[in-house]
Amino acid sequence: MMENVSFATAGAHARAPEMPVKMFGRKVEVFYGQKQALHGVDLEIPERQVTALIGPSGCGKSTFLRCLNRMNDTVAIARVVGDIRLDGEDIYDKSIDVVELRARVGMVFQKPNPFPKSIFENVAYGPRIHGLFKNKAHLQEIVETSLKRAGLFEEVKDRLDEPGTGLSGGQQQRLCIARAIAVSPEVILMDEPCSALDPIATATVEELIDELKQNYTIVIVTHSMQQAARVSQRTAMFHLGRIVEVGPTEKMFSNPDDKRTQDYITGRFG
C-alpha cells in the first residue's frame, strides 16, 4: 500500500536516501470559522527523516503541523477536510482514538512547556497515562533512556526530583523532547522548537534532532532558513496556505524552482 510508495527522487543525492512514506496529506484544507487557513495542501513525509516546513508567518505551516496529530481538535471553530494518513490509516477516521494517535505522533512546542512537576514525573507522565511500563524499575529505565536520548541525562541525573521548571530554557526544551520520546512515538512534530532558545541551546537541540532521525520521523516547523538547511533532508515551502515547492533540502536551498522560494530563502520577504 502507501507505505511502499517511494519518493520520486529526481536529483537525489546521498543525504536523502529513498525512504518509505510515513505520513501524507492529500488536499488538506483547514477552516477557522469563515477563514480558510490551508488550501489543498499535498505533502508526503518520509520515514526517519527530518522534514522542514518553512514559509513566512501566517502561511499555514503550523496549522498543517497541528493537523498531523489533530491538535486542531481542541480549537472549537477549526474544521479540517482532506485526507491525512499515518501508515495508510486515515487519522481523521471516526474509529481513530485521538489519544492513541497522539501517542504515536508526539509534539514539541515553540515555548518549552514542562509540567510544574519533577523532572522524573515530566518524563514519566506519558508512559503512565498510556500504560507503557511493567513495574517501577521499568519506568525508571524508560525515563533514563528518554533523557539520555534527549541528551539531558548527564546534566540532570542527580536532580531528577527537582522541578522541571527550574531548568534553563534549552534544558527545558530537551526535557520536553525527552517527555515526547518517552511514549516511543513514531513521528515527532516540532513547532519552532528553538525559537525561544539562545544560539548555544539551539545548537544542542539541533544536534539532538539530527540524532533522533535515526529512530523517529520528524516534522519541524521553523522560521530559520539556516536551521532548515542544517537539520532537514526534505523541505516544504508554504505560502498563503499553499505549498509552493517541496523537495530535497539541498536542492531547495541551492536551486529552487519557484520564484517565491528563492525570494524567501534569500530574505526578500518573510
Binding site: 496529530n69 491538535m71 481542541t74 509534539m107 512546542f109 512547556n113 510544574p116 497515562i129 517527555r179
Partner: protein, 428 residues
C-alpha cells in the same frame, strides 16, 4: 516669517507672555481644586474606616460582660435521698449564707432572686460530677442572675436612684454582704460556647448554634463544591461557545446577585412546601446556602481555571493525554489553591447569612444541640438574631459576644484563605 502680523497668533506658535501668565495665575486655583479632591478622598476613607472601627469597637465593648460569669459560693450539704429536691437545696444553702437575716417569705424571695433560675440544674450536675459522699458538705460556685451580674460588673450602679434601677437597696445590701463574706467571684464563662440556648441570658450558650452552623457548612460544602467546580470545569474547559453556554453564564452571574432572602423563599416553597422536608433542619438550611454559594464557587473556580496557562494543556495533549486527563491531572491541581480560596470565600459568606434561614425556621428556640441533619436546630447567625430579639438585658451582651465569635470564625476562615493564596502563589 517677517510678513506675519504680530497680532495674529498661529496655532502651534509659541504662546505670548500674557497666555503664560494666564496659566500661571490659574495654577493656584487649580492646585487648591486638587487639594480639595484629595481631602474629599481622605475624608471618605476616614469615614469608612471610622465606621469599621466603631462597629467592631462597640460590639467588642458591649460583649465584655458576657465573657465572664459572676458566681456565688454556697456550702451545700449533699443529700442522701435518691431524687433530691435541688431547688429547695439551693434555697436552703443560700439562706444559710445570710446568718443574721430574718427568715420571712419576702426575704426568702429576695435571696433566691440572687441566683440564676438555672442554678438548681447547675447544682445537680456539679454534685453528680463531684461524687461527694451523702451528708458531707461541699462548697459549690453557682451563677448569679442577670441583674446581680450587672451589678457586680458595674453596669448597674448603686448610686443611681432606687427607682431607676432594677435592684432595690435591700437587694444590693444582700449582695454586698455576700461580697464581704468573699462568696462572690467572676470567672471566664465557658458556658457561652459549651451551653445550648436558654431563656436565661447567664446560661445561654452558642453550642447549638455552632454545631448547627457546622452541619450547615458540611451540607453546603458537600453540595456546592462538587456541583460548582463541575459546572465551572464544564463551562471553562468543555462548553462550546454557543447560546446555551452564554445563557448559563448570564444565569450564573444573575444568581450571584439575587437577594439572599429569595433563596429563603425558594427553600420554603421547594424544600419545605413541595418536598415536605422538616422545618428548621440543618439539611434544608445547608441546601439553601449551597444554592446561594453556587455562583460564587462557579465564578471563582472559572477564574482559577483561566489562570492556568494554556501551554500546560497543550503539553499534556501533545503527549496524548485525553481532555479529562488534562483537566484532572494538570489543570485542576494547578488551579486548586484558587478554587479553595473561592470555596472558603463562599463558605464565609454563607456562614454569616441569616435572612434565608429565618424563612425556613432556623430561628426556633432549641435548647439542645442538634445531633442529626433532620433535627430542629439554630445556627450561629440565627442564634444572634434570637438573642437580639430577646427582651432580657443580659442578652445584649450575649448578642455582642456571639457576634464576636462569628467575627472570629470569619477572620480565621479569611486568614486561612490568604495564607493559602500566599503559600501556593505560582509563577509560570
Amino acid at each position: 516669517m517677517t510678513d506675519i502680523p504680530a497680532s495674529s497668533r498661529l496655532a502651534g506658535a509659541p504662546r505670548s507672555e500674557s497666555a503664560v501668565s494666564d496659566i500661571r495665575s490659574g495654577l493656584s486655583r487649580r492646585k487648591s481644586a486638587q487639594t480639595r479632591l484629595k481631602i474629599y478622598g481622605i475624608v471618605a476613607i476616614v469615614f469608612a474606616l471610622t465606621m469599621l472601627g466603631i462597629l467592631v469597637g462597640s460590639v467588642v465593648s458591649t460583649s465584655i460582660p458576657a465573657w465572664t460569669q459572676t458566681q456565688v459560693r454556697l456550702d451545700v450539704t449533699v443529700p442522701d435521698d435518691e431524687t433530691p429536691n435541688y431547688r429547695s437545696l439551693v434555697n436552703d444553702s443560700l439562706v444559710a449564707a445570710f446568718p443574721q437575716a430574718e427568715r420571712d417569705r419576702a426575704a426568702l424571695r429576695r435571696f433566691t432572686g440572687i441566683l440564676s433560675n438555672g442554678a438548681q440544674f447547675w447544682l445537680r450536675d456539679e454534685l453528680q460530677a463531684s461524687g461527694a459522699a451523702p451528708g458531707s458538705t461541699v462548697s459549690i460556685w453557682l451563677p448569679v442572675s442577670d441583674p446581680f451580674e450587672q451589678l457586680y460588673e458595674g453596669v448597674i450602679s448603686p448610686s443611681t436612684p432606687e427607682n431607676r434601677r432594677p435592684l432595690n437597696d435591700q437587694q444590693i445590701a444582700d449582695f454586698q454582704s455576700l461580697q464581704q463574706q468573699d462568696r462572690i467571684r467572676s470567672v471566664f464563662d465557658w458556658g457561652l460556647i459549651t451551653n445550648a440556648d436558654s431563656r436565661f441570658p447567664e446560661l445561654a450558650g452558642l453550642k447549638g448554634g455552632l454545631i448547627g452552623s457546622a452541619f450547615l457548612m458540611l451540607v453546603c460544602l458537600c453540595v456546592s463544591v462538587p456541583v460548582g467546580v463541575g459546572a465551572a470545569v464544564y463551562l471553562e474547559e468543555f462548553a462550546p461557545k454557543n447560546k446555551f453556554t452564554d445563557f448559563i453564564e448570564i444565569n450564573v452571574n444573575n444568581l450571584a446577585a439575587v437577594p439572599s432572602i429569595v433563596f429563603g423563599l425558594l427553600g420554603l416553597a421547594l424544600f419545605l412546601g413541595f418536598l415536605g422536608m422538616p422545618r428548621s433542619a440543618p439539611l434544608v438550611g445547608g441546601l439553601v446556602l449551597a444554592i446561594m454559594t453556587l455562583p460564587t464557587i462557579i465564578i471563582t473556580t472559572r477564574a482559577a481555571l483561566k489562570a492556568v496557562p494554556p501551554s500546560i494543556r497543550e503539553a499534556a495533549r501533545g503527549i496524548g493525554a485525553s481532555e479529562m486527563q488534562v483537566i484532572a491531572q494538570h489543570v485542576l491541581p494547578l488551579a486548586l489553591p484558587g478554587i479553595l480560596t473561592g470555596v472558603i470565600i463562599g463558605l464565609a459568606q454563607a456562614i454569616g447569612e441569616t435572612a434565608p434561614l429565618l424563612l425556613i425556621g432556623m430561628n426556633a428556640f432549641v435548647t439542645s444541640a442538634p445531633t442529626s441533619m433532620l433535627e430542629a436546630s439554630t445556627t450561629l447567625p440565627t442564634q444572634i438574631y434570637i438573642w437580639f430579639d430577646s427582651p432580657e438585658r443580659g442578652f445584649v451582651a450575649r448578642t455582642s459576644a456571639a457576634i464576636c465569635v462569628l467575627l472570629i470564625v470569619l477572620s480565621v476562615m479569611n486568614l486561612f484563605a490568604i495564607v493559602l493564596r500566599r503559600r501556593f502563589e505560582r509563577r509560570w
